[in-house]
Amino acid sequence: MAEKKTECRVELLLGRRVRAQDGRVIGRIEELRAERENSYYVVTEFHLGPSALIEALAVRHLGLTLPGRVHGYRVRWDQLDLNDLLHPRLTCPVEQLERFAAPRRTRRSTAA
């Protein structure tokens, strides 16, 4: 079935490189977060970069979390231009993006 021009696919967006306004690659789309708006869901932010991948994989290496350093970016929906789905670009300077680190280690019981 041919897709409408105003539609896009999440599974084909994942892994796409995102470029800044100056053409520099700043990361890959690793996650899309949606929130409920009235009776439907809307995408509110995209997560870019290696930290987003770690968040998606939820890997805790050898029982320890990675040290809290910057890994990726949270990009709001209005900060990403998806007119060209193969080459998404930022609509704002990189400095305006929210950075995030790996999650903090928490106490939990384990087995094995």
Binding site: L57, A58, V59, L64, R108, S109, T110, A111, A112
Partner: protein, 404 residues
């Protein structure tokens, strides 16, 4: 009492998962060519498999998802497609090897060419899966598989060299035929690290409706079941070393492997070997054929269960209905079941990292295993297994060429 029965049954069925044509063939080869020298490979492989099996079972108990299910869901379709294609090819070859093993066992007792038995074995396999429940398929074959204890009896009868065996648990380099030694080592690991076995174990846990209360039983079953299976495999190595090696008999065919039972059992030797080989292979072929159905059904989200009539899981039933004749055809076309076995074990080793690596992720994912995640030590061990699996995968095919 019921729990003890379930536990005993679980251990017995785990033996069935451990001991199949690959384990029998590689153990016999190793014993004949290198004496007891390769016992350390079996020991290392068994330890790894105990850990992996326990984890696969724990995943199923807590999340009620099988390994393949969880790999698709957690690692995505791209990773799953790699696993799907690899495991499809390898499992079809393994299925061919197992069907061939049963056919050879029948040839050993009747003298009729094994190829005549291939369609009969394939049909019997299909009927049992089509009509049987998971319990019948799993437990029936496994209980009959206790006949493989005859290898243990045979080894005792011959007077095992315990001192040499203990020394052989320490890794050592070969004194001759280096390429063949390491190829056989890879084959042994491949026979233990069979990708189908881990997912079949997890799928079986779901079929049997294991839950959180079965976590301890899962641990005991995985350790004791694999342990007992290893005892039988070690017995085969030692028996082969005691009876074949000293006479310079290299295991180039199953007929030669069967000779290991003649010294301890006399005229009963060949029939006992044939019964052990045939029943172990039949049980394993049931598992491989079912696992192919599990692989597709779980990966694509179809309805699945061996306890449902085929009408209610049509696609699940179609997969094994198509796979079994393909496996049978491969035996007839490729010929020499022993060569198919050793080649498929090398491919198992090649594919092992693809299924072992996701376990490292899954067993630390709170969505799947909640508070039953791995300890740091468990993660170190699994990471080591992943590295070992990758190293073995890299050398598997070159060694197949050089030493196979």
């Amino acid at each position: 009492m019921k729990n003890m029965m379930n536990l005993a049954l679980g251990i017995v069925t785990s033996i069935g998962g451990f001991l199949d044509v690959g384990a029998i063939a590689t153990a016999a080869l190793a014993g004949a060519a290198f004496g007891v020298q390769m016992l350390w490979v079996l020991a290392v492989g068994t330890l790894c498999v105990m850990f992996l099996t326990e984890m696969a079972g724990r995943l199923a108990c807590v999340s009620h998802h099988s390994l393949v299910d969880a790999v698709r869901e957690r690692c995505g379709f791209r990773y799953f497609s790699f696993l799907l294609i690899g495991e499809l090819l390898v499992d079809l070859l393994v299925l061919a090897a197992e069907i061939g093993g049963v056919a050879v066992a029948l040839h050993l007792v009747t003298g009729v060419d094994y190829r005549w038995f291939v369609p009969i074995v394939a049909f019997a396999l299909w009927v049992l899966i089509w009509l049987g429940t998971f319990s019948i398929v799993q437990n029936g074959a496994s209980l009959l598989g206790l006949i493989t204890l005859s290898f243990v009896v045979g080894m005792w009868w011959m007077g095992p060299p315990w001192h040499e065996a203990m020394k052989a648990l320490v890794p050592s380099a070969p004194s001759h035929d280096t390429a063949k030694y390491w190829f056989t080592a890879v084959g042994i690991i491949g026979a233990l690290f069979e990708p189908f076995m881990l997912n079949f174990y997890a799928s079986g846990a779901i079929e049997e409706k294991w839950s959180l209360k079965d976590i301890t039983m899962n641990r005991v079953t995985a350790v004791l079941g694999m342990g007992f299976g290893a005892v039988i495999a070690i017995s085969i190595v030692m028996l082969s070393a005691l009876t074949l090696g000293p006479h310079g008999i290299q295991v180039d065919s199953y007929e030669q492997a069967a000779l290991m039972m003649v010294q301890p059992f006399g005229s009963w030797g060949i029939p006992l070997f044939a019964a052990s080989l045939g029943i172990a292979c039949f049980g394993a072929s049931l598992q491989v054929a079912l696992n192919l159905s599990y692989l597709f059904s779980q990966g694509f989200g179809w309805n699945w269960s061996e306890n449902l009539k085929p009408h209610d899981d049509a696609r699940f039933a179609m997969v094994y209905t198509l796979a079994i004749p393909v496996g049978a055809l491969l035996v007839v076309v490729l010929g020499d079941p022993l060569k198919i076995t050793t080649f498929s074990m090398a491919l198992n080793a090649l594919l092992a990292p693809v299924i072992v690596f996701p376990l490292l992720i899954l067993m630390n994912d709170r969505y799947y295993v909640r508070e039953y995640r791995n300890h740091a030590i468990g993660n170190v061990f699994v990471s080591a297994i992943v590295v070992l699996a990758f190293l073995i995968a890299i050398v598997a095919i070159p060694l197949e060429v050089l030493g196979g």
